[in-house]
Symmetry: C2
Subunit: 333 residues, 2 copies
């Protein structure tokens, strides 16, 4: 295993220390239980957004805490759900008195623990709404998941709902925006290589030198098909076809196209992927109105990419364009 780490058991704590040292203007990091909150939390009168999940997907979620996006993130150990006490403590720390939305990716552990955390919060008088992200069209049920997995749409939801909360919408309205984003988002990923979990010390799965896996999950869960490596044109066509036909999107639809690197993929390749995606969509009369290209929801050091399409309406476009100030996404401020 080749990683820039010390003891594998300390990776998450040392990462959080790094985030705390790097971004004191944006966030405060709390330990035992671990969570990251907006530096100015709680914001009175604003609906608070809390997300979380296993570590190893950076910058998600800790890198999305800040003005106009998340109020708090709860990092679990690598690829392991955070615990209810983290979620409860984080929710309490950011509750501005008008409710908290939990953004939960559809993995069995996350669902169970966020459920429990919501109950704990409610028992203390807080208003909590939970919303589920399950946008991965690759497979129905998977390792760690019943139903579809939650992947790239999470990033878009955190940005768009974060803007909705920032402009003062109510708990129900913010949760509804989340549900609408989930309904309008579809993703699919692929891997050129496995990832290696630090504590495991060896690759999660094996891929031959000329193989790739289409439909991979963000923890290296099996996808749709393992096949011979193909030109990126064919890869994008396979993935984009699956995504577009799942909606289905039609001529004239506007989308936000998100090309995401899995952690071990350089930008040069992501722009080549985006070029293919743009050609594919334009051939079907689908317009890319907004885009996001980079490594925002990763799987440790996995090489590969995912494609997320979010069907846009005017509200989504406006909320996407609204100012955001986080370590991972920043514009307008």
């Amino acid at each position: 295993m080749k990683k820039l780490i010390n003891d594998p058991a300390d990776v998450v704590r040392e990462e959080l220390l790094g985030i705390a040292a790097a971004h004191p203007d944006l966030v405060s990091v709390h330990f035992d239980p671990n969570y990251v909150v907006r530096a100015d939390a709680p914001v009175k009168g604003k609906v608070a957004l809390v997300s979380g999940g296993g570590s190893g997907h950076e910058p998600m979620h800790g890198g999305f805490v800040g003005v106009g996006m998340l109020d708090a993130a709860c990092p679990g150990e690598v690829f392991t759900s955070p615990t209810p006490d983290q979620m409860q403590a984080a929710s309490k720390a950011v509750d501005g008195g008008v409710g908290v939305v939990h953004i939960v990716k559809n993995y069995t552990g996350d669902i169970m623990n966020f459920d429990m955390a919501a109950e704990l919060c409610r028992a203390e008088g807080a208003e909590v709404e939970a919303v589920i992200v399950d946008d991965d069209v690759a497979v129905q049920d998977s390792l760690y998941t019943a139903g579809r997995r939650g992947v790239g749409t999470t990033v878009l939801m955190e940005k768009i709902a974060g803007a909705a909360a920032q402009e003062g919408r109510s708990l129900k309205e913010v949760a509804d925006v989340c549900r609408e984003v989930n309904a309008g988002g579809r993703s699919m990923g692929m891997a050129l290589t496995s990832c290696t979990v630090p504590a495991a010390g060896k690759p999660t799965f094996e891929l031959g030198e000329d193989e790739m896996e289409i439909g991979i999950g963000i923890h290296g869960e099996p996808g749709r098909e393992r096949m011979k490596l193909k030109p990126v044109h064919d890869i994008v066509e396979m993935m984009a076809t699956a995504v577009v036909e799942d909606f289905p999107l039609k001529k004239g639809d506007r989308v936000l196209a998100f090309v995401n690197g899995m952690g071990g993929t350089p930008m040069i390749e992501l722009y080549v992927v985006f070029n293919e995606l743009q050609r594919f969509l334009s051939g079907r009369g689908i317009e890319i109105t907004r885009n996001l290209i980079g490594s925002y929801i990763t799987s440790l050091d996995m090489a590969g990419c995912s494609i997320t399409l979010l069907k846009l309406n005017d509200d989504f476009v406006r909320l996407w364009d609204a100012p955001v100030k986080t370590a991972g996404l920043r514009w307008g401020v």
Copy 2:
């Protein structure tokens, strides 16, 4: 070779098509000769900043074209200098009538071609000043370089000098800021894995499963020493010691600390590196006043990192904080 590409010969062109499709609000991309310019170029009365170099280091340089940073970038083929005609055409396209600064990383091909381009521009009546970046403390002379290589400080120079140009400083003043940044910046890199040049199809060098290379260049050029993999604490100590003692920095100095991923390194590891660097510098009484953490000057898919320290003064801090709007760096707008 596992990459998200089509024909290796088309990677740069297809990447540029991707950039053009993604960022029409920020840049215009020209082909034959290839260059990327600010969407609103030329900006009358503003000193223009032009850089360039081989492709494969994305987001540098094309991702740094925009308001408050570069006016133009000239991408060569992968790890190959751009040609004088690219540089000349780009300089002409962005010349706002008060001169052009060429930011040149210290590699033999780049130096020679930018030299020739400057002569061509001057022959047409343009004012051109060239500044060299040679901040890599790892080795004196190297493959492709006489003297020190130009690495991470380039990114900081492009941001800081870009802000100086944006606020209306003269050609000489902007070039002086570049020279001051180069004088105040030092870097060192390391690799966990090789990179693979698409046209070569195989790794540039071989590293054993338990080996790393300290002092690596951004094209996989040999560094100081190949050694057994160590904990990140030791890696950062080796690199930061070399950088700090080269200045030398002393107690009370303020720095911008830039932890850079080489292309195949995930954010989780870069934050662990930053944590170590922060502890190291704090132990010597050196204050990190600003920081930048992410993959900004890469070596294709190489796993590894580099550390750049820029000794700060008040002018640098103010210019660093000034608004910037590019695909790769954005804040304040």
